[in-house]
Amino acid sequence: MTLENVIERTEFPGEGYKNVIWSPDGRWIASSLEGALARHRVIIWDAANGELFRIYEQAPVYGGGESVDHIAFSPDSSRLLLVKGNVEVLDVLTGELQTMPAGTALSQFVGTGAWSADGAYIASITGRCTGGWPPS
């Protein structure tokens, strides 16, 4: 099965796929969507059979963009990093979601994030929001 075939099996009207990544072990394929979204959405497929395995949906976070900016699998492929105004870690198998604490409530995370090679650390970049908190 090719990657193209997998992606074509799942369509969301009005949304487009922003990026696509393989898990390091080749088991999973993940993609974030963008478009006229009321919610942030990330799709995870089982690469072996092309079946949709998990859909992540959350309300947009203040300071984030219209979609999940960046996704990255942990080195052991068990977790997915989501950078989208805040930083979250999704357990692929269980769906458990962990929101990483920010240094300040006025932080906004942008653009990128990465796992260390051993999966022990996550790095991301934050700046201060120009607006107040909470957003009006």
């Binding site: 870690v89 240094g103 653009g111 260390s116 022990a120 650390y121 996550i122 790095a123 700046g127």
Partner: protein, 72 residues
Amino acid sequence: MASVLIWNTETGGVFILYTRMGEGFANFNLVWAPDRPWLATIDGGSVSILDVEKQALIRLEPEFIAAPRLLA
């Protein structure tokens, strides 16, 4: 102001490793070393290497970026 934040995924601990004053951070990027907990960051016109476990920053001037001993 833009900062590089590091989380310990086992303990949930977080710390700010590096902060830069100024506007915008569109040119920021970061990448981990493949064999140690060192993080390289691109910050506009400079590249920095950070030892996360020691929470130590080495800012590299452009002439040092190509030095093999620093990148090996």
